[in-house]
């Protein structure tokens, strides 16, 4: 009896306990998101009141080469870097348990996730500057210096850097999933004559499928937030990177406050942000569809 009275009293506590987080989150997270959707249909400089223009911003976006490039680059990061990351993560997982100095290996892989991306971008710049470390190494080998950071080639270096930064994080997550697979599945597969690839294909992958799905969604969501690595690696004094290297996060910054002469086209930037949200939403739905089917309980 005491517990049910207790349960009733506890039920009465739910609303007071939840209300603070709920109000704050609704007012400063959900409401601004909704407002951005409205703002994308207006002409707005972020200061005066917005003026309704219907779908005009979206029509302009559609034929804006800067935005086309931004969304293409965003998709390249999400899909290209994403697939590379997941393949490499599994390759690393294949051998990581047998490596010596396990703590050091995991720490070194994970470290880029913990440190400031700005610092990583500075290091990346020190590597690939014209008078940087890579050209210094090439010079020793007798090969002429290469211009790595041209407006077109720099984005490839950004992609490479992103793989390096995020690899340890996804190895850590996927490894936790793989570690949870009971060993007797591997023993059975081994006794049945399955080689390493077959064990991966028929044991590891299906049994870790849930975690792969969650990790894929995590990557999709966080990949569109990537911003400061590109800004610091390719930007100059108060200047934004060349538009060839923009993703949609840089597009939003560049169309509002970024650069030496800020544009303050908040309505237009909001439309770009809404397209990004739609991109994420569609991808998350697709990933969930793809992943749901083959999950196995054990």
């Amino acid at each position: 009896m005491a517990t049910s009275a207790f349960a009733r009293k506890r039920r009465q506590l739910t609303i007071p306990y939840v209300i603070g987080a709920l109000v704050l989150y609704t007012a400063l997270f959900i409401a601004p998101s909704a407002y951005s959707v409205y703002a994308s249909l207006t002409d707005w400089n972020g200061i005066d009141s917005p003026r309704w223009v219907g779908l005009r911003n979206y029509v302009t976006l559609w034929s804006d080469p800067v935005f086309q490039r931004s969304i293409l680059n965003t998709a390249t990061i999400t899909l290209g870097v994403g697939v590379t990351l997941f393949v490499l993560s599994f390759v690393v997982i294949l051998v990581i348990r047998e490596l010596r100095f396990a703590r050091f290996v995991r720490g070194a892989l994970f470290l880029p996730h913990l440190v400031s991306t700005i610092v990583l971008a500075i290091f990346w710049g020190a590597l690939f500057r014209y008078d940087g470390l890579v050209n210094g190494l090439l010079d020793v080998l007798g090969v002429g210096p290469v211009t790595w950071m041209g407006p077109d080639s720099a984005f490839a270096l950004v992609l490479l850097g992103l793989v390096w930064i995020h690899l340890g994080y996804y190895v850590t997550i996927l490894l936790a999933g793989v570690d949870a697979i009971p060993a007797h599945f591997y023993e059975a597969a081994f006794l049945d004559g399955a080689g390493p690839w077959q064990r991966f294909r028929h044991v590891t992958l299906p049994l870790a499928w849930d975690v792969v799905g969650v990790a894929a969604i995590l990557w999709t969501i966080s990949s569109v937030k990537i911003f400061e690595f590109i800004l610091a690696f390719s930007g100059g004094q108060g200047a934004l990177p060349h538009v060839n290297q923009w993703n949609t996060a840089l597009f939003v910054y560049g169309k509002t406050l970024g650069g030496t002469a800020a544009a303050f086209t908040f309505g237009y930037a909001a439309a770009g942000a809404v397209v990004t949200l739609a991109f994420v939403a569609v991808l998350v739905i697709v990933v969930r569809r793809l992943m749901r089917r083959e999950s196995i309980q054990f």
Binding site: S36, V92, V95, E98, Y186, E187, K225, G236
Partner: protein, 294 residues
């Protein structure tokens, strides 16, 4: 799926894989070591360069330091305004981590201990926030902060950071409270404790591990966050550490580089994180993976 007991299993599994070491397997091992050593070399390069003169960094980037050049650190800390950035970031890390967990913990407890469609819907509502990119909320918030006079203030940034860290913290702690045994609450009730007291004096201390993890993860986020800081802070004396470093870096690209001081600045930001990982890396990785395994 939930019970990870890796130790005995991995031993046996590696015994199996030792039997089929192919050349490909060796190649992969070499490749993984290459990545590991690259990351370690990056860290070593940053820290060692912080003790070298700029001339030595350019002339012999991989040579050991040519002296100790502690003036690099002074230059970065004072002239580069890193000291101010460090202080601002440290203040934000401490206050945001505390406030976020203080707001999220009661909510997470209440959500974890009850079921029903309204509770489930609320959890989903919070998780939704994980999927919303920052760039979509930042524009209206800029306009709002401008109107409230909170642009270029640390209190404005503090509020922003608490809000953007709420969804993940609620998600993490709801899972954590859900995993605590409910027998203790029943025992507390039999002893005549009110539900409110039960939460504050029984459940909260029990959840210390989860709360610490949540604070650490939030703290790391805040220490390194750049996008919101860039949007909301426009004056130098309110710069956070990442903004100070970015600004110092860009100034130098323009005015000729003092690489020694630049890497000292980088080391000031990186070394606390290295220390944190050395001190409680396991707790950090458990926090990160527990979200994905739920």
């Amino acid at each position: 799926m939930r019970y990870a007991r890796p130790a005995p299993r991995t031993l046996r599994r590696s015994a199996i894989s030792r039997l089929d070491r192919s050349p490909l397997h060796r190649l992969v091992t070499v490749g993984v070591w290459a990545v590991v050593l690259f990351s370690a070399a990056a860290l070593a390069f940053i820290v060692l360069s912080a003790f070298k003169s700029s001339a030595a960094i350019v002339a012999a980037p991989w040579a050991p330091p040519d002296g100790l050049h502690l003036e690099n650190w002074r230059t970065a800390w004072v002239d580069g305004n890193l000291g101010r950035g460090f202080g601002n970031s440290a203040l934000l890390v401490a206050t945001v981590a505390l406030a976020t967990v203080a707001i999220a913990a009661p909510a997470s407890y209440a959500l974890a201990r009850r079921s029903g469609w309204a509770v489930n819907a609320t959890v989903v509502y919070f998780v939704l926030g994980l999927g919303i990119p920052m760039q979509i909320i930042v524009l209206p918030l800029y306009a709002l902060m401008l109107r409230l006079g909170l642009i270029s203030t640390l209190s404005g940034l503090f509020v922003m950071y608490v809000v953007v860290n709420l969804p993940f913290t609620v998600f993490l702690l709801t899972g954590f409270f859900g995993s605590l045994p409910s027998e203790l609450e029943d025992a507390a009730a039999l002893d005549g404790l009110s539900p409110n007291r039960t939460f504050w004096s029984i459940m909260l201390p029990l959840a210390r591990g989860g709360l610490t993890t949540a604070m650490l993860l939030t703290g790391v986020n805040v220490w390194n966050e750049t996008f919101l800081a860039l949007m909301f802070i426009q004056t130098g004396d309110r710069y956070t550490l990442p903004l100070s470093i970015l600004n110092y870096y860009q100034q130098q690209q323009y005015s000729g580089s003092d690489y020694g001081a630049l890497f000292a600045a980088a080391a000031i930001s990186v070394l606390p994180m290295v220390g944190l990982y050395a001190w409680c890396g396991r707790r950090l990785t458990i926090g990160i993976t527990s979200g994905a395994l739920k």
